[in-house]
């Protein structure tokens, strides 16, 4: 846990665990502390799935906090994540969001790096400083661990190993969400900026589902049995059965809602890893939402969608239709979430606390056992945030 230093903005945190002070969202000076204590701290951040950069030389740019990074598929088949900077004078090496390169050349002084990040050429090096050694000037590599093709990076050497960090209650459904074996194909992206602080984007709960999303009721769509599991370090897992009606009267084309079903899900898996990433396997959609805060205001979300390598053509087409129409910033069953992000952001520029109620049994405890339709699954994440930021909770 990070300790609070003198420059940290102070924030009076309520004694009750189901209260979150509204000023925590966009308070001046917080973002810099969040970068230091959370994004550059002991957390794992998903950067890329192998399916997005399947061939040697394929790369994908991303951000970790405010640091520009890129993942690149090496000639040796390994995927590495580097800070996007030449080790000479700091020029960015990758200037597009994705692409393919045989090697990485800085245009400024033609320093040349191979796909494994080694410096292999630098003109005029006989006139460099006496101690200069190419071996010391490889690209700045981030610590990486992969899970069924999904590569996570961390800025800290102290971050626990990935499986230990997530715990089985999170990584087991994540494996199922990644098709069971991670053999995925990328089928496309939807990218959008939501007008809210990144922490407002994170709040998700089992309470709002049937109430906000009118499509569920109109489509006579019954939520079945399910669980909501919270980990102590703030990760969240919804694993729910979906019972689809035999016939969808409310739509002209009900086929968009077919659940062709695969062996890895009862219908719906929604995961959220601390601090900010959501993963979903909703019906036949396989979706990772890479999320990048734009400072204290705004969060850029890249919805990446996948098919499985064993899918037949019909299944791929079905996944494409669902992915394009149900989730994302225009989706039939998720556009409302985007609207709420924006409204939460505006509404929280007022006084007082945001208050969680559904499922609260003890206003002074952090519940790790929560019901499927409770909103208390968020409290462990808020508690972890509070601890990492060093905010003292008011006495009871």
């Amino acid at each position: 846990m990070s300790t609070k230093n003198n420059s940290t903005p102070s924030l009076d945190w309520p004694a009750k665990t189901n209260h979150v002070p509204k000023e925590v969202f966009e308070m001046e000076g917080l973002w810099e502390e969040e970068l230091k204590n959370i994004f550059y701290g002991e957390e794992w951040h998903p950067i890329v799935h192998r399916a997005e950069i399947p061939n040697p030389g394929d790369y994908k740019a991303a951000q970790l906090g405010e640091i520009n990074v890129f993942a690149v598929h090496g000639d040796d088949g390994e995927i590495r994540v580097f800070q996007n900077t030449c080790t000479h004078r700091g020029t960015s090496l990758v200037t597009e969001s994705s692409g393919n390169k045989k090697e990485l050349e800085c245009p400024y002084h033609r320093w040349l790096f191979n796909l494994e990040g080694d410096l292999v050429g630098c003109p005029g090096d006989r006139e460099f400083s006496p101690d200069f050694d190419k071996k010391d000037y490889g690209l700045l590599k981030l610590r990486v661990e992969a899970f069924y093709g999904l590569y996570f990076a961390t800025m800290s050497d102290k971050t626990p190993p990935l499986k230990e960090y997530f715990g089985e209650s999170f990584y087991e459904p994540l494996q199922r969400l990644l098709g069971g074996d991670g053999r995925l194909n990328l089928i496309g992206y939807q990218k959008v900026i939501y007008d809210c602080n990144w922490k407002a984007y994170c709040d998700n709960d089992g309470y709002h589902g049937a109430l906000l999303h009118k499509a569920f009721a109109m489509l006579n769509w019954q939520g079945g049995q399910g669980t909501q599991i919270v980990t102590k370090n703030g990760h969240l897992c919804f694993d729910s059965e979906l019972t689809m009606p035999d016939h969808v009267d409310a739509l002209e084309d009900g086929s968009i809602l077919d659940f062709k079903g695969t062996e890895t899900s009862n219908g719906s898996i929604v995961l959220m890893s601390f601090p900010i990433t959501v993963y979903t396997k909703h019906m036949d959609m396989l979706n990772i939402r890479y999320s990048f805060p734009k400072g204290p205001k705004g969060v850029e979300v890249h919805y990446a969608y996948f098919s499985h390598q064993d899918d037949d053509d019909e299944m791929v087409r079905h996944r494409i239709r669902q992915s394009s129409n149900l989730l994302g910033p225009c989706g039939l069953i998720s556009m409302e979430d985007a609207s709420v992000f924006s409204r939460i952001d505006k509404g929280n520029r007022t006084q007082g606390d945001a208050i969680f109620q559904k499922g609260v049994k003890d206003e002074y405890a952090i519940p790790l056992e929560v019901g499927q339709t409770d909103e208390t699954g968020n409290l462990a994440r808020w508690e972890r945030y509070r601890e990492l930021m060093g905010f003292e909770r008011r006495a009871k």
Binding site: S97, S98, L186, I187, G188, Y189, Q190, K191, V192, I193, Y194, D195, L212, K214, A215, M218, A250, L251, E252, D253, I256, E300, Y305, I320, R321, S323, S324, N325, G328, P329, C330, L332, M335, E336, A338, S339, V340, S342, R343, K346
Partner: protein, 162 residues
């Protein structure tokens, strides 16, 4: 060869004007009326097209889906959306007729939006339409309108077709 070879440009312009008027007047029934019974509408990102990735922002690949799009906007999500005024500006780039009588057109577009709370106008997206147009009973209709946005990262969630 001319980019406007022997094509009735006037009918095309009328159709395009009806389309953008429908959206800017918030009239989704008129939007639907711009499509033939085989009509399709796709809103996607330039990045997906360039990388041959088929997922779109909106993928209405049959007339039934177009009708469901109208229902989504006007009924299912009407009360949870933060509505905004759109304003389209388009420019016809090319129009050519293929052997089967289908007219292929391209328009550039820019779309501004003005939220009803801030009333500050901003750019929603910039891109191009790639269309297949048929003439039925003297009237032009979209068999397919594909809106490809250069704005790969949209500045907000999108309630209506572009």
């Amino acid at each position: 060869m001319s980019k406007f070879s022997s094509v009735n440009k006037e009918l095309i312009e009328i159709l395009n004007n009806e389309y953008i008027s429908a959206l800017n007047d918030f009239n989704m029934d008129n939007w639907l009326a711009c499509f033939s019974q085989q009509g399709q509408y796709i809103l996607t990102a330039e990045e997906n097209i360039r990388r041959n990735l088929p997922v779109a922002f909106m993928l209405d690949d049959c007339y039934a889906r177009l009708k469901d799009r109208v229902k989504q906007v006007m009924e299912i999500q009407y009360d949870s959306s933060e509505h905004y005024q759109m304003r389209h500006f388009t420019q016809l780039i090319s129009a050519t007729e293929s052997e089967n009588g289908v007219i292929e057109t391209k328009f550039n577009f820019s779309v501004y939006y003005t939220p009803r709370d801030t009333h500050q106008t901003e750019t929603l997206c910039v891109g191009k339409y790639e269309d297949s147009i048929v003439i039925e009973k003297g009237e032009a209709l979209f068999q397919k309108r594909v809106a490809i946005v250069d704005t790969n990262v949209l500045p907000r969630y999108v309630v209506y077709p572009v």
